[in-house]
Structures are given as structure tokens and as C-alpha cells.
Symmetry: C2
Subunit: 320 residues, 2 copies
């Protein structure tokens, strides 16, 4: 069993790679739901959707989110009615939101709805919302504290960030499925995907029972750096690091997660940083390896997934 | 001021004709909401939508309902998710339902939402939901008592009908706007559109304050027969009459409404029935006129509208 903690686009690429090298029943993804919000009356879970669409081959290959062969007739009609159009909902994508909203309103949990949607999309691996409780990522910025989608989509991540608040996380419970996978006797690795640490992974780790279970797990915990050569592959990770007074680098990522990590994967272009990262946990040992981490093709994704699993296995072996 | 009581497709044709011959501020439509229902979590008002789309030129000219230039990507995606597809919601049509649902959930009344939607669609005449309370038409059939859309759309009006129940109508209040138009000092006529009497007009008349206001109004009350030559122009009106043990004819329509009527318009093909209809209210007088009532072109609609208004005026004049 491999458990991956993931946000949307970047994490979904690694998860797709993992799905190529692991039997579906041995792959579980704990997905960030801190970005979830209600928009036009619909319950929207952007990271769950990106994971589902990516694993089912439904994703728009150009954007990495949304559905392929999408059309925008609904959005144009909403605009004509004077409705909000800053968050783009495609005609095909809408079916997911409407089905989710309908079922949540009828009392189903987000976990149950996700299980059924995954089944409909033909996904056999477990995509597990981090909690069925409401956790909302809020961003402290020079324009005030903002809701995630307001910051990320409407304001295009332009405001200067000074901090984060994962509202509801302290009292949120992970689902029974998450407790089960993290306590699985055959757990081989826990992988923090190359997602944005602050916006995608930290909301998951902010749930005390998840953080504790990861910390307590005998399985090796790895992270893959989303920062390559001082820049983010996608999104505002590097910009946020600078705004928080940190250098945008793989070292900053490793330091951020250091209490949890047994291993860290950075890109070959950053291999000169290995010693510095290893030194973060001098007494307890932090294994560091470098490889090509930029995932463009399916081969890139599969290769990185296999690399991470073998790296985890080597840490386990070394510990014996 | 002209007030039209209307259901969907058939009534909307007359209303469109009325909108061509009356200044917009002097035309008010009381629309049936007994067909309204919640589907896929959305609040759907089929007759309001048909009226809005017809008056704004947005209607699909082939069906008489739904929007023109419609696409069905959402519906196909819902089908792939195993959702319900018996009630077809187009991508463009969805914008109306989502906007309505969002605003009703936020506490707006159906009347207020309709005012705003009409404004967005560029409609200046008043389209007034018969009530902001919940009234639901239920059909007693040989397959049990059915919800309207279950009977009408899902079962294609095939079950044998024995009666109707307008659940909630007895305690429903008309909106202030409806009270105002029915008490308008310049009210020139109240017209029962050639809609299905049982499914479209009776739900409106089942609201006691509306029926009373129509009955009390000094303005002439007219009906236009939806039955022409013993058949309905569209829909199950004739079939239902037969199932209820009545002959499908303009006489049955006139008899149905007779307590309220001052005048009745039937098609020229039925002019032989005039005497029988006049005899329905021998003491009080029931004016009957025949004209071509089948509305295909916009000219047909405009002509019938003008005919109805002039007929009403002649009744008023005769009464003085």
C-alpha cells in the first residue's frame, strides 16, 4: 500500500504515475479539500475533481484541470444573466458538481459521494477526501484574509501572502478509510506529492489525527520537491515562499516538512542542495535523492512514481 | 391592463401575441407554478421558463419550450454518471435553474427572482408566478397518485387520469403583484389562455384569493378553447377529458369554467357549438365568438390576441 497526499494538478500527475505502477487496491490518495467551496449554489471540490479527471483520462490535457472536450454554453448563459463567471464551470464538469451537491444535500458524506463518482469514472484506486468535515483554507494577505478561491482564482494569486489559516482543521476528523490506510500493516510509503506545501499539503497535515498517524507510521515518509531550480513548475509556490521571507528552493520545502520526513526527492538540477537537506535532520537521518522530477509525459510520471517507491523501499531496508 | 392566466407552450403563444398589441406595462401574466419541482437539486419552474423564453425570443422554435441553440453536454455527462435524464436540461437552460435555485436558497421569493430574470431577458411585461408558496399538482391515475412531472414527462401522460389535487393551493397566497393587477382600476380583461384546463389553469384558480378576485372583478373574463374540432392542439387535454367521462370539445371547456366566464372564444371549425355554450349561462349571458385559434405564425398570435381584447371590450360596452 502506497499513500499519497495530494492537491490538484501537480499532485495528480504523480498519482497518475503511481496508478501505472501499483495495483489499484494498493494505492490510496488523501486529497486536499481545503480549496472546496460553494459557488452558484454548487458544492465544488477542485482537487478531488482534478484527481478523478486525471485518473480516468477525462482531464483537459491543456490545462491539467477540468474536462476534455468541454464546452461553455452554461457559462455564457450565466454571464448573460449577470451571474458570476470568474470561476469557470464547463457544461460537462457541471454534471459532477450537480451530482455531488444533490447527494450531499440528501445527507451523504463527501467520502461516500467520492467513492460513487470514482466508480462511475472507472477509478479503482482510493481517492479519499482528507475529511468529511468542513476545512477551508484562508489566506492572510495585504488585501486582508481571503477565501482560497478568491485569492487563487479570482485574484490570480496576486495578493502578497503573510500566512495561512486552515479553518476547521483542528477539530476535523479523517474518515475511517483514511485512518485505515494510514494504519495499514502493509503500508510501504507515505508520499507528499510535489504540490504547493502551503495550499495543498498543509491543509491535510493540519488535521491533527492525520499528522499524528503519519508521524507514528513505521512506513517511510517522502516528499518530492515542487520547487525545481528555484522556481515552481506551476502556480504560486515560489512567489509565496519569497513573500514569507524564505528562499524559493528545494531546501525550503524540505525544511518545511522536516519533522515528518525520512526521505526527500529533488530534481537533478538541484542536486547540489542534497547535503544541506541531509543536514536538516543530522541525528535521525534524512535520505535525499535526486532525479528528473518534471512530469510532462506519462513516462515521466511513471518513472518518478517508480523512483519514489524504490527510494522508500531502500529507506525501509536501511532501517532494518 | 390585460391579465392572462397561462400555463406553458400554448398559453405562451397567446401571451406573445398579447405582447405585440399591448404596451408592456399593461400586460400581466399569472403563470402556473403547479408544475414546479426540484430535480437534480435544482428548482425548476417549467411554465415560467417557457413564458420567459417565448417572450424574449429565446425559446426553441421547434419544441415551444427550452432554449434555442441549446446543447446537451451536461445531460450526456449526467447520464455517464448514472444520473436521471428523463427530464432534459440543456446547457444554456441550466443557467436559469442554477440562478433561480441559488437565489431561492438565499431567501428570495420566486416572484422576486422572476422579476430579475425577466429583466435580464429583456422582458418588460409582468410574468407573475401564481404564488410564492408551494403548490404542487398531483394527478390521480390508474397507476396511483403521481407528481406532475412524473405523470407528464416521465410517463408521457400515458396513465389513465381520474382526478387532480393541487396540493397547497387552499392555503397559498397570491403575491402582492397579483392582488394589484387583479384589482387594477384599468383592468380591461382577464383571459384564460388556451392552456390545459386541469393541468395549467385550474392550479391557478385553486388558490382561493385568485379565484375570488377574478370572480369579483368588474372586467370581463374570457376563455379561449384549447380544444379545436374535438382534439387538443398539443398535449393530453382531449385524452384527459375522455378519461374523466367528458366529451373532448369546446363545450366541455366552457362548462368547466362557466362560473367565471363572461365570454368564450372557440375555433371557427367549432362554431356550430356556439348556441350550446351560450346556453350554459342562460340568465346571466355568456358571449361566444369564433375565430381561427390555431397559432402557428406570429401573425396568428397577434391576431388572436387582438381579437380577444376587442371581444372583451365589446362585452364591457354591452354591459353599460
Amino acid at each position: 500500500m502506497i499513500v499519497v497526499l495530494s492537491g490538484g494538478v501537480g499532485g495528480a500527475k504523480l498519482v497518475l504515475g503511481m496508478s501505472q505502477v501499483m495495483p489499484p487496491e494498493e494505492l490510496a490518495v488523501i486529497a486536499n479539500t481545503g480549496d472546496d467551496f460553494t459557488h452558484l449554489g454548487l458544492c465544488i471540490s477542485p482537487d478531488l475533481d482534478t484527481l478523478m479527471y486525471t485518473l480516468s483520462g477525462e482531464v483537459n490535457p491543456e490545462t491539467g484541470w477540468g474536462r476534455k472536450q468541454e464546452s461553455w454554453q452554461f457559462m455564457d448563459a450565466v454571464e448573460a444573466l449577470g451571474g458570476e463567471t470568474w470561476f469557470r464551470l464547463g457544461d460537462r464538469d457541471l454534471a459532477t458538481h450537480i451530482e455531488r451537491t444533490r447527494r450531499l444535500s440528501a445527507g451523504a458524506t463527501l467520502s461516500n459521494v467520492t467513492v460513487d463518482l470514482c466508480q462511475r469514472f472507472g477509478i479503482e484506486s482510493g481517492i479519499l477526501p482528507m475529511t468529511d468535515d468542513k476545512v477551508r483554507t484562508r489566506i492572510q494577505t495585504d488585501q486582508g484574509e481571503l477565501d482560497f478561491q478568491d485569492y487563487f482564482v479570482r485574484r490570480q494569486a496576486k495578493p502578497r501572502v503573510s500566512g495561512f489559516h486552515y479553518s476547521g482543521a483542528q477539530t476535523a476528523d479523517p474518515s475511517p478509510a483514511i485512518r485505515a490506510v494510514l494504519a495499514h500493516p502493509g503500508l510501504r510509503a507515505i508520499v507528499l506529492a510535489p504540490s504547493n506545501p502551503y495550499l495543498s499539503i498543509d491543509p491535510i497535515l493540519a488535521i491533527p489525527a492525520i499528522c499524528q498517524a503519519i508521524s507514528d507510521s513505521p512506513a517511510p515518509v517522502l516528499a518530492i520537491s515542487p520547487i525545481v531550480g528555484g522556481a515552481a513548475i506551476k502556480g504560486p509556490t515560489a512567489k509565496i515562499m519569497t513573500e514569507l521571507g524564505d528562499q524559493p528552493s528545494a531546501v525550503t520545502v524540505a525544511r518545511h516538512y522536516q519533522q515528518l520526513l525520512d526521505g526527500f526527492i529533488l530534481d537533478t538540477v538541484d542536486c547540489g542542495l542534497s547535503d544541506e537537506i541531509q543536514a536538516l535532520r543530522p541525528g535521525q537521518g534524512m535520505a535525499v535523492m535526486s532525479t528528473r522530477t518534471v512530469m510532462r509525459s506519462i513516462e515521466d510520471k511513471t518513472r518518478l512514481a517508480r523512483f519514489a517507491i524504490e527510494f522508500a523501499d531502500s529507506i525501509t531496508k536501511a532501517a532494518r
